[in-house]
Amino acid sequence: MAGLGGNVGSNLYLRAQMVGSQMIAGQAITPWFFTDTTTGTGYGFGGDRSFPGAVLEFIEGQPSTLTFDNFSMQDHTVHLHGLDTDMANDGVPMTSFAVGGMQSFTYQFLAPRAGTYMYHCHVDTVLHLVRGMHGTVIVRPPDASTSVAWVGGPSFDEEVLWHLSSYQLDFANLNSPGPTTVRMKPDAFLLNGLETPAARNDVCSRIVFGSGQTAYLRVTNTSFQWARVRLGGHAFQVVASDGYPMAQSYTTNEIELGPGERYDLLLQGFPVGDFPGRIDYLNGTGGVIGTVKTRIVVT
């Protein structure tokens, strides 16, 4: 995927911004998001859209820092979800602190085992997360390889990230949570920040690999809904979740992720063709409430 493997390091940077305009469900909203301005774009994910935030790629076992500039007038934090930081660096106002408006903080931690993680603001989480303050963390193996999942783990020819989120338009004018931030009914169901049909040919979202090659798909669910992932009816291997290899990997043709879960999937032996990659968003009782699609192209 464009952008993956381009931001690997042990001292990374994020800026919180609450500016600009992004089209969601046909309306222009002001996104709240995390950008890595060191790439020079001022945008988040892939450098071409506001949210999800910039992808952070650390290196297993390295003492690491994340310098966070809160370039807004509201409190924000970065919670490094799944990285098992210590309490002081957990990014939760209740147990550590919030980073005030126009303030900075450098989070410090030991990068955990290679895998897929995520980050998000933990201030008024029910609102800030939905408004767009979330992103994916990838921890690379100790040699910083971008073609092996972990030491002793699977190698791959292509790597794609599917970062899942949803958006509710009536959250867009809120600055604090309240009676409207429950019983969610999202207006947009997003793949890497895009809806169908934009996601269909999105260079960051579609999976393109050659017959006989292996693709590695990292799926993170930052929405408050469940998500069911299907890859054109083809079977794939579930190899890791939440940063750890599966105790026993298994093969399936669909997988469901709860809010906050991550799964790493290995795509091998796909026939030549152009297949739909489909994510159904589910409510708390399992009903489909929205769908986003992209393409899986095997050449």
């Binding site: 309490m87 002081a88 602190f97 949570p177 750890y244 009782t285």
Partner: protein
């Protein structure tokens, strides 16, 4: 150099900022204890021993179904149905809890002090009789294999008739009429099940939720529901934050290096995906079936009407939130943070 200093903090006493003092005040609230004393008391609470069901002896659990009222952080007071434990069991938070050894005979006796008929069941084990308002009845079964089981209740007019409120589905209540039944291994060993993982201490975490529009009419047998079930209030062990921090059965306390068994159940109408800060956990069993696929997880699904047993080896000290990642569940009707927000305290 600053980085190195930070890493060494993990094994030293944490310094407490004002925000932490605020939290610790919550922790100690209501108990008249300092935060430190509160944590010590939590650690002293015995977590083992099946007094309600000594090995081999028949066990009994006597419950009374009553209507209660729960106050929430947004100021609302919502009526709930709950079981009150009258004998043979204990409570976890405000919800009933009992334990007995696998294979022994268990008799559950329920008095229905509500205005609607109810039918208690132990999910996947035994269904009790329909019990009309004002009546008492019992059901008896052999304790299931060692693990974590849920008592659940259907309500209505025995499943038919005008005015029946069939808001629940089989095996899944929506109004708080639930509890936890732990089956201890026959060996008496401190393991989840014989041949299964061991642990140093254990907790029960039982999620449920409520739609205030449904709960408002739950005790009126003539009322008819309008609209789907869409919960807006969320509880753990019958409590909500900050009560979850102040309850010694719900505040998860441990010492560095201990293995903590957390028996999670979900009697709510919606499934949850629960995230623990600071630690990954081994998923030991899902619905009392040993989990073989998953490695350590930081976010663990708990489907409605099921149990998930996890074992967390707490390897760093501090205070770490533990909560569903659908953050609407850590609100009181959208007001944040309340609901199913819990805390893991490691000394």
């Amino acid at each position: 150099m600053a980085l190195c200093q930070n890493f060494t903090m993990k094994n030293s006493e944490p310094s407490f900022s004002p925000s932490r003092r605020t939290l610790l005040g919550i922790l100690a609230g209501g108990a008249g204890l300092t935060a430190s004393a509160t944590a010590k008391r939590a650690l002293a609470v015995p977590r083992l021993g099946g007094k309600s069901g000594a090995k081999g002896a028949p066990a009994t659990w006597v419950l009374d179904a009553v209507e209660t009222a729960n106050s929430f952080g947004d100021g609302a007071t919502i009526p709930f149905f709950e079981y009150q434990a009258l004998g043979g069991g204990q409570t976890r938070g405000s919800l009933p809890y009992a334990e007995a050894t696998e294979g022994v005979t268990m008799t559950i006796t329920v008095t229905n002090s509500l205005s609607v008929s109810i039918r208690p069941a132990v999910i996947g084990v035994a269904r009790g009789p329909w019990i009309r308002a004002g009546q008492t009845d019992s059901f008896t079964f052999a304790m299931p294999p060692a693990g974590t089981w849920l008592i659940s209740t259907a309500q209505g007019s025995q499943g038919s008739g005008a005015g029946s409120r069939q808001g629940t589905v089989a095996g899944r209540p929506t109004t708080g009429l639930g509890g936890t039944l732990v089956s201890r291994p026959a060996s008496g060993n401190q393991v989840l099940y014989d041949g299964g993982p061991s642990y140093d201490r254990e907790y029960v975490v039982l999620f449920d939720d409520a739609d205030d529009r449904w709960n408002a009419i739950q005790n009126d047998p003539r009322a008819k529901l309008a609209g789907p079930y869409e919960p807006n209030y969320f509880r753990v062990n019958g409590l909500t934050f900050p009560g979850t921090f102040g309850d010694m059965d719900t505040l998860i306390s441990a010492m560095v290096g201990e293995r903590v068994l957390i028996r999670m159940g979900n009697l709510g109408g919606v499934r949850q995906s629960v995230h623990m800060h600071g630690f990954h956990s081994d998923v030991a069993a899902r619905n009392n079936v040993p989990e073989v696929h998953l490695g350590p997880k930081d976010t663990i699904p708990v489907p409605s009407g099921t149990t998930t047993d996890i074992i967390t080896t707490v390897n760093q000290q501090g205070m770490f939130p533990f909560h569903p990642h659908d953050a609407t569940a850590i609100t009181a009707n959208g007001t944040y943070p309340f609901g199913q927000l819990m805390l893991v305290v490691v000394n």
